[in-house]
């Protein structure tokens, strides 16, 4: 696999005059000067010049230097890397979906509007919310949208003093970042010894200024916040709202619902829970659902049904406005719609049950050789700690890099922040027992290596296309584009 040569960039494969595509001949009369000289580009952009076969080989070779769910087990905690059904890729490419323009008159895109309407209804049922917007493009975008809704709601009620958003210390980094972006001050709430929201600390931090509490349930330790009702009561008593970060919804579909727990606003990650592929970092889709009192603030437009036809509703005077062009990542949420139809109510419940079963099985097996900071049962994910291994000289990062040698994608590392040397493991429901057992065997072998030959981990990976990469130099002397010099 390894060679000593640099893998070429597409620019380094370029030879003057080569082309990968022929364009149609110009078939219209040209009238000469269309663009004044001072507006014209003087020098053509230095795009690569390659033949089609060289282009295909370049990107095919690059794909082989990448690892997806289709290549192997991907237990990346809080990312829900489940299998992505292939039929959904075909569906998103049906010309009647892929080739419609967002500004077409509604009567010419009734199928698309029906998808938007019905998906909103289905997500409402799954989460016990009253209405959804599908506009947000990703989870963090959903958070920002949800917080904007909360802000608009409080302002409309004359509560301009509600400027604080409470965020547990175990929360995803996007939570505080989104709150700050929406113009809120962030107040951190501690976790207790059991890994759950510390109710005493919450009672101390909550006040009349509390706009909302953002909560992930199950939380990022994979633990169900069993006091969620009480938490909701504490926040609601002060006029605050409860925000549900849907990153971990995969644990509870058809079993319990955020709306029944007291949540007022929910965002979902369709690229996690609803099987749409993550695309190497997007596109995602982060729909936001709300309880009735917040419906008036949803982004414009929404889709409504009138008899047999679907229309856009722009007449929403209290709306926060638009958060994205057009109607969100249609091509993504179309796949989530297909996934829900393929799974049905029983299939979704089964998925969550299997996800939790797989996680508990792994947790039980890994307890043998790794420290488990919260030994209780888990939901769909759990956290182990490499503190013991660290004492031998092998950190969580070293462990992760060593896993690459065995064909596994490593877990999420160094998160949540409240666990030292954290490895956060989420197997998902789509993995077989055999895959889990193979992972356990490798993890056990690595634990042994850490004890006996930690340097083997420090220098890992040994069998990837490149060896350990120097991130420090990359940040200190940024090289962010090809310049033709080395």
């Amino acid at each position: 696999m390894k060679t000593n040569q640099d893998f070429p960039l597409i620019f380094e494969r370029s030879r003057a005059g080569r082309r990968a595509l022929d364009l149609p001949q110009n078939d219209v009369p040209t009238t000469g000067k269309t663009l004044p000289e001072h507006l014209r580009r003087q020098e053509a952009a230095a795009l690569p010049e390659v033949s089609q076969v060289d282009l295909i080989r370049h990107f095919t070779a690059l794909s082989r230097r990448n690892f997806g769910v289709d290549n192997g087990f991907y237990p990346l905690g809080s990312c829900t890397m489940k299998y992505n059904p292939k039929i959904n890729e075909d569906i998103a490419r049906i010309p009647g979906f892929a080739q419609i323009h967002p500004e077409q008159p509604p009567e010419t895109v009734q199928g698309a509007l029906q998808v938007i309407y019905e998906l909103g209804r289905m997500l409402s049922e799954i989460t016990a919310m009253d209405e959804f917007t599908l506009q947000p493009a990703a989870g963090a975008h959903g958070e920002l949208t949800g917080l904007m809704l909360i802000k608009a709601y409080h302002l409309h009620n004359g509560d301009s003093h509600k400027t604080e958003v409470l965020v547990p210390d175990s929360a995803h980094g996007t939570n505080p970042a989104s709150a700050a972006m929406a113009g809120f001050d962030v107040v951190e709430v501690k976790s207790n010894m059991a890994g759950l929201v510390d109710l005493e600390d919450l009672a101390k931090k909550v006040s009349d200024n509390t706009a909302a509490l953002m909560l992930t349930n199950p939380n990022t330790l994979g633990l169900f916040e069993k006091d969620v009702k009480e938490i909701a009561d504490i926040v609601h008593a002060k006029g605050g709202l409860l925000y549900y970060d849907g990153a971990n919804l995969n644990a509870i579909m058809g079993i319990c619902r955020p709306g029944d727990m007291g949540f007022d606003v929910v965002h979902l990650n369709l690229h996690k829970t609803f099987s749409t592929p993550h695309g190497g970092g997007g596109p995602g889709s982060g729909p936001v659902g709300v309880k009735k009192p917040l419906i008036p603030y949803l982004p414009v437009p929404t889709v409504k049904q009138e008899g047999q036809t679907y229309t856009f509703d722009y007449n929403r005077p209290l709306s926060i406005g638009r958060v994205k062009s057009f109607y969100g990542n249609f091509g993504v949420y179309l796949k989530a719609y297909a996934y829900i139809l393929a799974m049905g109510p029983d299939g979704l419940r089964q998925a969550s049950q299997d996800a939790v079963l797989n996680a508990n099985y792994l947790l039980h097996q890994l307890k043998e050789c790794y420290e488990v900071p919260y030994p209780d049962r888990c939901m769909h994910e759990f956290v182990i700690s490499a503190t013991t291994q660290k004492e031998y000289g092998a950190s969580a990062l070293d462990l992760a890099k060593r896993l690459l040698d065995f064909g596994f994608h490593p877990p999420t590392i160094y998160f949540p922040l409240i666990v030292k040397e954290a490895l956060m493991i989420e197997p998902t429901e789509t993995e077989s027992k055999e895959t889990l057992d193979a992972f356990v065997a490798v993890m056990a072998a690595i634990a042994k290596e850490a004890e006996e030959t930690p340097q083997a981990l420090q220098n890992a990976p040994h069998h990837a296309t490149v060896s350990r990469l120097d991130e420090t130099t990359a940040a200190r002397h940024p090289v962010l584009k090809w310049t033709g010099e080395d």
Binding site: P95, T174, V186, K324, F330, L480
Partner: protein, 438 residues
């Protein structure tokens, strides 16, 4: 597995969830469909969407997508991977993004690009936030000729963050530069322009850049990537932050999403830029490799002090853009843009030769232009759709009441001479009968 864990049933694993919170009934959703049934259902829905000959643009453009683009996107090593946190087994995607960043820098003439944002409108909003952070001022100016949806998203973002957004209106007898000059003050963080503007008009930004910089404000320009093959790039017009929507680079219309937002900036703004960035480095054996870099700007490190909350972006769409630009190549990119421009100008000539039709603005344009119709443009567009099954363009009156006779027409390489002549014929006929629908 249950035995190993020490429980008697899978249900028992959920005992930690209080009884009263458990749903206790099946979700009220349609029963599961087999793959075959699902496909039948989805095809039936797709059939309800019509695809007439279309001259719609207004921020989403129909271009031919070379076959190779989809074949690469279908490599599931790419599309089933997560954000490349583990660089050593993600060199494929990381290198693609590095190539993407290089190409965006090349076409915009800017110094550095990030790895993509959600779309053009949110990229513009992120740029506005960036200007506020960099200048420590709190006001952003945006004129009427920036895409209405971009302005709407800006309004939403700025409103939440407490940034003052000043929307400049057109004033008879004043140039855009004069209008901006009047409005700049010591609290202005940035000025947002679009070029070509929403109506397709091309302007030289250098003069505006000079007055914006004299005021120690930043100039943000939203640009259309294919037009950059022919137009003076923002990097040579004094622009500090170039943004735009990359849909036209190999991404299908898909009812408006997913596309990608791009952002490229001057070197001095690099560390203030939001979003993922891929950087080049070496491995332990001295070989070139790529990693996500400058992460100290990002939410997972900085939490509430991050430059932005963005996490997932539009990586696969950026990959499409990369393959698309590499497929066209240096010559093809210019040829394609020239084709679009020629066809658009032919369409303009034909339409403006019809009695009652004229160009709405007397400015150079690329592949999109605004016309004034001899009557309400919405009625005329409806008539054209009804009689000729053609979508003739975007009705400008919906966002600009003073332009109720206005139609914005986009012509790309996908339209043949015959298509364009059909459009002109249909408009001519509708102009005669179009009033009937009013």
């Amino acid at each position: 597995m249950l035995n190993e864990i020490g429980v008697s049933s899978a249900e028992e694993l959920f005992d930690v969830i209080p009884r009263e919170l458990q749903l206790g009934r099946p979700l009220n959703l349609p029963q599961a469909l087999s793959e075959q049934e699902l496909l039948t259902h989805m095809n039936a829905l797709a059939e309800k969407n019509k695809r007439p000959l279309s001259f719609l643009g207004a921020g989403a453009y129909e271009h031919h997508i070379p076959s190779v683009v989809n074949h690469i996107l279908m490599r599931s090593e790419f599309y089933t991977s997560y954000t490349p946190y583990q660089a050593e087994i993600s060199q494929g995607m990381l290198q693609c993004i590095f190539e993407y960043q290089t190409m965006i820098a090349q076409i915009t003439g800017m110094d550095v690009s990030n790895a993509s944002l959600y779309d053009g409108a949110t990229a513009t909003s992120e740029a506005a936030f960036m200007a506020v952070n960099v200048t420590r001022r709190n006001k952003v100016l945006v004129p009427w000729n920036v895409h209405p949806q971009t302005r709407q998203v800006l309004r939403t973002y700025c409103n939440a963050a407490g940034i003052t957004l000043i929307e400049l209106e057109n004033q008879d007898g004043l140039s855009l530069q004069e209008i901006i000059e009047q409005s700049l003050d010591h609290d202005t963080a940035g000025v947002i322009l679009q070029n070509p503007d929403f109506f397709g008009c091309i302007e030289d930004l250098q003069g505006i850049a000079d007055i914006v910089h004299n005021n120690k404000s930043l100039l943000i320009a939203s640009v259309e990537p294919i037009s950059l093959a022919l137009l003076k790039p923002p990097g040579q017009s004094g622009v500090d932050i170039a943004v735009g929507d990359g849909q036209s680079l190999g991404n299908p219309l898909s009812f408006g999403g997913p596309s990608l937002g791009f952002m490229a900036v001057k070197e001095n703004l690099l560390r203030r830029m939001p979003g993922r960035i891929v950087g080049q480095t070496k491995d332990q054996d001295g070989r070139r490799g790529f990693v996500l870099t400058l992460q100290a700007r990002e939410q997972h490190i900085r939490r509430q002090k991050a430059m932005s909350n963005i996490c997932s972006n539009q990586a696969l769409n950026a990959l499409a853009a990369t393959v698309y630009l590499a497929t066209l190549g240096k010559e093809g990119f210019v040829e394609l843009a020239t084709l679009c421009m020629n066809k658009a100008h032919y369409a303009k000539d034909l339409i403006c030769a019809i009695p009652g039709f004229e160009l709405a603005f007397d400015s150079p344009f690329f592949c999109e232009f605004a016309i004034k119709c001899p009557g309400n443009a919405e009625n005329i567009a409806q008539q054209v759709l009804q009689d000729a099954q053609i979508l003739p363009g975007y009705y400008l009156g919906q966002e600009y009441p003073e332009l109720s006779n206005g139609l914005l027409i986009a012509v790309t390489e996908t339209k043949t001479r015959q298509d364009i002549e059909l459009l002109a014929d249909a408009l001519a006929k509708a102009a005669v009968t179009g009033g009937d629908l009013a």
